[in-house]
């Protein structure tokens, strides 16, 4: 059985996370993805790790190996005319070109929608850029942290009212890139439908900044609705929603609906303080968190994480443990669902990776091949697919176009 996107042809000009993740989502669902990397060095994700044994090696970077499963890999210097010419030949036969070349570099190498459309009027070109293709910040430099910061997401996280000296805090990893990538995958698929219906392509301009600003929960709207700045130094609107310490680890205490709080109070043995007026609804518990916290800490520190998790869930209270990586890898639930997948790579060896983000009833999510080694499919794509002979490929390689 083939994947849901079997038949979709994608060319990826991607580095690090955003465009590679968008193309991975498609490749893992059956699309054919040809990934183009810079000759010699390849995608910067190859330098990021983690590496087995901690030894940096371009074919052993965990981030790269995860983000590039199921892709064909070629090398091509698209900043040179011969290289750009080969890119044009690749996209002539593709449905989608997805890239995260920054706008100043797009201008420098001449990558524009007008130019690629002249080679393939059906082509969907998706440009994932930090700030978008227009506006005064179009050419601003950005990294994952600075985008998370600009969007407002850092400002609502950190040490809280008791620790104003601690800075706003980002989430672990490369989250801006992941969100830019998955939002681009959605927009790109929209453009693919329009392409199937109308036979015409278009240019999709995805801003990572806007993808992040679009998901600031209820925090953004505090400004236009109430003129309030939402801050890590302010109170949370409702409580309890906190990581708290048990005697053997951490648990997330979470009561959103009122019945969840009532059930939690019962689970604690209905202590007298819980019937105080200042704790009588979620907004009051938010406003009086300082007082509530003391009572809860006192009770929770005597509990064990897994026991409290089970007891809470038995009463339909959505607590969850603060999982370590080891907890995830040993989880019976995740084992039963087959979440982690083992992938064998010719250089990096065999390791377990995060698997399918969702399970399809009919069309499988599957690993058909590991991430490519640098230039692994040059002969297959430039030779067999585009018809370059061996001598020409050798010449392009010698001149570092490939």
């Amino acid at each position: 059985m083939a994947g849901a996107l079997s038949g979709l042809k994608v060319v990826e000009l991607g580095e690090m996370v955003s465009a590679p993740y968008a193309a991975k989502l498609m490749a893992d669902m059956g699309a054919e993805v040809i990934k183009i990397e810079r000759p010699g060095v390849g995608d910067r994700a190859r330098t990021r790790g983690p590496f087995p044994g901690g030894q940096a090696h371009p074919e052993k970077s965990g981030l790269y190996l995860y983000l590039n499963t199921n892709k064909f890999g070629v090398t091509l210097d698209v900043s040179r005319p011969e290289g750009f010419g080969l890119l044009e030949r690749l996209i002539a036969g593709a449905d989608v070109l997805i890239h995260n070349v920054a706008p100043p570099d797009m201008d420098r190498i001449g990558l524009s929608f007008e130019r690629v459309r002249s080679r393939n009027p059906r082509l969907v070109m998706s440009s994932i850029t930090p700030w978008g293709l227009s506006g005064p910040k179009r050419e601003w430099r950005a990294e994952d942290l600075t985008l998370w910061s600009a969007s407002g997401l850092c400002y609502v996280n950190g040490g809280g009212p008791d620790h104003p000296e601690m800075p706003p805090l980002k989430a672990f990893g490369q989250q801006s890139g992941f969100q830019g990538g998955v939002h681009a995958a959605v927009a790109t698929m929209g453009a693919v439908f329009a392409q199937m219906r109308d036979g015409e392509g278009q240019h999709v301009d995805v801003s990572i900044y806007e993808s992040l600003a679009s998901q600031t929960e209820l925090f953004f709207e505090f400004w236009p609705y109430m003129g309030m700045v939402a801050s890590r130094l302010g109170q949370k609107p409702i409580q309890p929603l906190e990581v708290m310490e048990c005697r053997d680890g951490y648990i997330y205490v979470c009561c959103i609906e009122e019945h969840q709080w009532r059930n939690f109070v019962e689970l604690m043995g209905s202590p007298p303080w819980a019937s105080e007026e200042i704790f009588s609804d979620r907004l009051k518990r938010g406003a009086n968190w300082d007082a509530l916290k003391v009572f809860l800490e006192d009770w929770i520190k005597q509990q064990s994480v897994l026991d409290l998790y089970r007891k809470a869930q038995a009463r339909r209270i959505p607590f969850a443990p603060v999982s370590t990586m080891g907890d995830l890898l040993s989880s019976e639930h995740l084992k039963k669902r087959g979440f982690f997948v083992e992938i064998t790579h010719p250089v990096a060896g065999t390791h377990k990776y995060p698997g399918a983000p969702l399970k399809y009833q009919r069309t499988p999510w599957e690993i058909r091949r590991p991430a490519p080694t640098l230039g692994q499919h040059n002969e297959e794509i430039f030779g067999a697919r585009l018809g370059l002979n061996a001598a020409r490929i050798e010449e392009l390689r010698r001149t570092a176009v490939l």
């Binding site: 997401l153 969100q179 998955v182 959605v186 439908f193 278009q202 301009d205 806007e210 603060v322």
Partner: protein
């Protein structure tokens, strides 16, 4: 103007709170007709959370709900009353996609499980965005997005060095599941267009969030190590942090302190940074003249950068550093995002007149399309605003039948 990509695609949206509504918001952005099935007996949680204008609650007044339900219609049903379930079933019959985000088994108990619904609509695509997925020993566990963040391992990796695990500050697992769910639905639609087959998609918010942590998970599977929390720092790059500025101002009851994030990704960018902060010699200083050296001496380096940022406003630091070609951005409070001229010029914001809260600034569509340019077509619906419209115009109920259903309490 070309038709929108999903024009003519209808979604029977049984989701609530944030993950599911964020999923169907993306599909509404692409032109789908999203009909939310709500109930007044248990209104969507986001209708009952702030912010509300003047701080006055009201089911149609929350900025939280109004942000994530733009461009959708709302139908209210009370399944406990006769006739309500039949309305839901008829809606699915006329829809292409059904969405839900309850724990496993809940839709089945209502008589709205996939196996039932596919009898009505054989090529239906249905997605469940539950917390734990439909199989496995914890399938009936209840979940809320905020709890799935620590469950997925993000909290054990997020936080200051030497501090306890911390949250991401917002319910990240929700929009993450929602946007992945939208992609999954689109992939299933692609398959249906090619083969005529619908299908069921089982998504676990927990699993979907673990896909965002390859560096943490692979450090464990490759090397058996749990990565240590390290604040805003990066394993390879320095400086990589959030630095204090001199400006602050008061807003309601809090002090708004301003910070600026700065990253110099390589030697060339560090040289530009060193020049911009008036210390070009730092780029040649043996403590800082390579990525490895900067990482080794990161505390000293951060002190030098902080000494410069602390003397100016965050916006000024951002402007000077960007002019020099250095990745810097203020840690923006909502007010600053709201006022950013860049977003204004890109036409990102949506200003629609909502019957109860008037014209408010809402976040718009995070992409632009050159041919099928979309726009947010309507403000978020009032609860049950489109009940009559959907029953008569979409499902073919007569006015008398609608009146009978209403009298029976089925449309609450």
């Amino acid at each position: 103007m070309a038709k929108l990509p999903l024009e003519g695609v209808r979604i029977a949206d049984f989701t609530w709170v944030w993950a599911g509504p964020y999923c169907t918001l993306q599909l509404a952005h692409l032109g789908a007709d999203v009909i939310r099935i709500e109930t007044r007996t248990r209104p969507c949680v986001t209708r009952m959370l702030p912010p509300w204008p003047e701080g006055k609650p009201g089911l149609n007044r929350s900025g939280y709900f109004n942000q994530y339900n733009q461009g959708k219609r709302s139908l209210t049903l009370n399944y406990a009353k006769p006739g309500a379930l039949e309305v839901a079933r008829r809606l699915v019959e006329t829809s292409d996609i059904a969405t839900s985000n309850f724990a496993a088994g809940v839709m089945e108990k209502l008589g709205l499980g996939y196996e039932e619904l596919r009898k009505l609509k054989p090529d239906l695509i249905m997605i469940s965005l539950s917390g734990y997925g439909d199989t496995g020993p914890y399938r009936e566990y209840v979940a809320y997005g905020p709890a799935q963040v620590p469950l997925a391992g993000l909290s054990s990796l997020t936080g200051y060095k030497g501090w306890p695990p911390m949250h991401t500050g917002f319910s990240y697992a929700d929009p993450n599941a929602g946007v992945h769910g939208a992609f999954a639905v689109l992939a299933a639609l692609y398959h249906r267009k090619k083969t005529g087959e619908g299908q069921y998609i089982d998504m676990s918010q927990w699993e979907c969030a673990m896909g965002l942590l390859p560096e943490g998970i692979l450090e464990y599977t490759m090397n058996g190590r749990e990565p240590a929390r390290d604040g805003n720092r990066d394993p390879l790059i320095a400086p990589h942090g959030v630095f204090p500025s001199k400006d602050r101002f008061e807003n309601t009851s809090i002090m708004v302190d301003m910070w600026v994030s700065i990253v110099a990704a390589d030697d060339a960018e560090f040289e530009r940074l060193a020049g911009a902060i008036g210390h070009p010699e730092l780029a040649r200083d043996p403590r800082f003249n390579s990525a490895a050296a900067r990482k080794r001496n990161e505390d000293e380096l951060d002190a030098a950068v902080s000494a410069w940022t602390a003397q100016r406003s965050a916006a000024e630091a951002e402007r000077i550093l960007q002019a020099a070609g250095v990745a810097a951005a203020i840690c923006a409070p909502n007010k600053f995002v709201s006022e950013d001229p860049h977003l204004k010029e890109r036409g990102y914001w949506v200003y629609l007149d909502h019957p109860e809260v008037g014209v408010r600034q809402h976040c718009g569509i995070p992409w632009r399309m050159s041919r099928t340019e979309g726009e947010v077509r309507a403000p978020a619906p009032l609860i049950g605003q489109h009940t009559d419209e959907v029953l008569t115009q979409v499902l073919g109920y007569s006015a008398a039948e609608v009146a009978r259903l209403r009298a029976a309490g089925a449309l609450e």
